[in-house]
Amino acid sequence: MSQVLPEILAPAGSLDKLKVAVLYGANAVYVGGQKFGLRTAADNFTLDELREGVAFAHERGAQVYVVLNSFLHDKDLLELPEFVLFLEEIKVNAVIVSDLGVVKTVARLSNIPIHISTQASTLNVEAAKFWKSIGATRVVVGRELSVKEAGKIKREANIEVEMFIHGSMCMAYSGHCVISNFTQGRDSNRGGCAHSCRFEYSLDMGLDTEEKKKAFFMSSKDLEGLRILPEFINEGIDSLKIEGRMKSHLYTGTMSKIYTEALRYYHEHGNFLSDDLLYWESELKKVSHRTYTNASLIEKAGAESIFNERENSTEAEWQMVGTVIEASPNCGIVIEVRNAFNQGAELEILPFKGQVINIIANEITDIMMKPLTRTKPSTLIKLPYKAGVESMQLVRQKANS
């Protein structure tokens, strides 16, 4: 195959998640500092962690993009220069920006490549040309676009194009929802979104009946574009983004691994005619998600893209048990437990590449080697060593088992 493959761009809400994403194969990660990004409640990176994260990713051939995608007020903008200089010093690969004032500030102070955030709702060739003329090297196009439209933007505006392939979706045109600003006093465009679109509403639609319609009518299903990978490749899309800096380690690892493996398969075989496709899809379903849709990737999202259900009604099939902290024949497999499991539990360890490693937890001890019949969250436990298990790998089990 001679086609250039898009990069898989994974979310990293913390330094740990950055490492997980990179180890599970993501070609690039996007991260937020303590300010200027949209995930106010996220763990986010300190300056030291950013430096370490960039070094970790670069050593493994991955890129790091830093989100500066808030719509900044003047006072926020005054604090930006120092951070931009720091980002250039630690050699981040790009910044993701939605506000023209931020674009201008970054371009004036540094040579850091500028990616235009989906928050800017870049939807057409002319908008992409505008951003290119201002100095952007890439546009993260709006989720309202089809892959074909995005391909046209790439060709005609001659700019790198990034598209979302997976994750939760804003129902609104990104950057065009201020419900939280006016109803909760929290600026959604500076990270304060209260997710009012996920609420159930009673709707008086002026129908003959007195009855009001109750519906989660503004809530979107989650995006999933695995089967559309060939279209992305054919249209020359440069980067495929996975949403979810607030999501779990298991989510970050699973998404990075599955999309990377699928892409690699396509690269090697030139087709998707593989039973593996079903396996990859089943893996994507193992993490917590709303019902999946491909939204507007092929044609305009219709009624079937609305998630008319209460939040959390889609339980994950699998839950994260913990993370491998250390693994060696000497000390065994040490797991930081997030969700309790019992002796005899059938665990799956997600390796960085390839099929899962199955373990039956017959012999569990605490780290002082005292035998246990049940583990507790926020503790460390040991299992006997098994080849192939490495530190930072994720451990899961079937939910409710």
């Binding site: 303590q34 106010t40 409640a41 300190t46 030291d48 007020h73 003047d74 926020d76 903008l77 506000d99 023209l100 004032g101 674009v103 201008k104 800017a120 939807l123 057409n124 060739v125 002319e126 908008a127 992409a128 040309k129 505008f130 003329s133 201002i134 309202e144 676009l145 439209e149 129902m171 609104a172 045109y173 065009h176 929802c177 201020v178 006016f182 109803t183 006093g185 600026d187 500076r190 304060g192 009012s196 509403y201 709707l203 639609m205 002026g206 129908l207 009518f217 503004m218 979107s220 305009k300 219709g302 009624a303 902290i325 000390c331 605490d366 780290i367 002082m368 926020s378 503790t379 460390l380």
Partner: protein, 382 residues
């Protein structure tokens, strides 16, 4: 300061003319989010407006994916002789209009654009063609004053009208209507949610998607004189959801607003009114509360995190600092609730339970148990 408004009918135009306004904004149904005019109606209204001596502003404020954009960019050419200024919101529409027309341009900078660098950026980009910039209603008074002084082009601000909260291209109401609608028909609804303190959000679905508005309308009429003094160029009155006949009263109130009259107007107005963030915008003050700062504070002497605290036995610390952890290091441990513990290390072991003098980065270090320290406490060098 001039008043500006929308016209949807010949009757509206007559009222606008009678009140001595000098311009009118016309919304074509394919270009304007809430425009109602078809081709013929637009051409007729624009002709009549010009005959009345009104300047005609063509509103192109829909956001467009590439497939829609091409069609509209072609179609607008039909109308180029029928308006005087072009008002856009999508950066693509701005770019296209700049390169393919010679019309004076008005840019709607209402979403975001809360800094002077951005506003100047839009103006500079079109090289002298920017005739007006429409400011965000989230800006507070002092900021508006500053922008009006600093910007080279006149600024416009909403003076009265609905507050748009949400805009999606997806059709969200029609799926609930079974078969009682046809495409392109406008559907109206009023929404409320038990999860929101506010009740009665107006919701509209039309050919461009679905829009939700605030339960109250925006009103700065009582500040019209103030805004005029500070040099605001245009004050926009939007009667598309109420009555154009209100124009006369509102114009009077803008010129001279006596408290009693304003109160009477507010009483009579079909919606409750609010001034939004005009006096102050504090929409970022809650952010610090959304974070646990002790978890965030990991700069400088940060070593790592307590992963296990086993009473009477040990603390397990994941060492994250590249310098590692030595037995001689003195520790400051910060509990998630803020309590601080100063700790000397008596025992340092690895996960194989070997007693060591040093544990390297990314390894687990076991030290003696310290009463009161919990999991997720952050550990620092003193």
């Amino acid at each position: 300061m001039k008043l500006t408004t929308f016209a949807q009918t010949l009757h509206d135009l007559g009222l606008i003319k009678d009140q001595g306004l000098s311009e009118v904004i016309l919304g074509h149904q394919e270009f304007s989010r809430f425009g109602k005019l078809n081709n013929d109606e637009f051409l007729e209204l624009s002709k009549r407006a010009r005959e009345m001596g009104l300047k005609v502003i063509f509103e192109w404020d829909v956001l467009m994916t590439e497939n829609t954009f091409g069609g509209l960019a072609n179609k607008i050419k039909l109308f180029l002789d029928s308006f005087d200024s072009l008002r856009v919101q999508d950066p693509g529409a701005l770019e296209w209009s700049f390169k393919n027309t010679s019309k004076p341009l008005q840019f709607i900078a209402e979403n975001g654009n809360h800094n002077i660098v951005a506003l100047k950026g839009w103006i500079d980009h079109v090289q002298g063609r920017m005739e007006r910039i429409v400011l965000s209603i989230e800006l507070p008074r002092l900021t508006i004053e500053e922008y009006v002084k600093q910007l080279k082009v006149p600024c416009e601000l909403l003076g009265l009208g609905r507050i748009l909260l949400f805009y999606t291209p997806r059709l969200l109401l029609s799926p609930l209507m079974e078969d009682k609608f046809s495409y392109h028909e406008t559907i109206n609804a009023i929404g409320e949610s038990e999860e929101s303190p506010h009740k009665g959000f107006p919701i509209v679905e039309n050919r461009h998607g679905t829009f939700m508005f605030h339960i109250k309308d925006f009103c700065l009429i009582e500040f019209a004189q103030d805004l005029s003094k500070m040099g605001l160029g245009f004050f926009r009155l939007d009667f598309r959801w109420t009555e154009m006949d209100l124009l006369k009263i509102v114009k009077g109130l803008c010129a001279n607003s006596f408290e009693g009259e304003l109160e009477a107007f507010k009483e009579k107005y079909p919606q409750d009114l609010m001034r939004g963030f005009y006096l102050v915008n504090k929409t970022d003050v809650l952010f610090p509360k959304l974070k646990n700062h002790r978890l965030q504070n990991r700069e400088g002497n940060y070593i790592g995190e307590v992963m296990e605290a086993e009473k009477g036995s040990h603390l397990a610390i994941l060492v994250k600092n590249p310098k590692g952890l030595s037995k001689t290091d003195k520790l400051r441990i910060v509990h998630p609730k803020g309590e601080i513990f100063e700790v000397n290390i008596f025992s340092l072991r690895n996960l194989s339970l070997e007693e060591l003098d040093f544990i390297g980065p990314q390894k687990m270090a076991l030290i003696q148990f310290v009463g009161g320290v919990w999991v997720k406490s952050q550990v620092f060098y003193q």
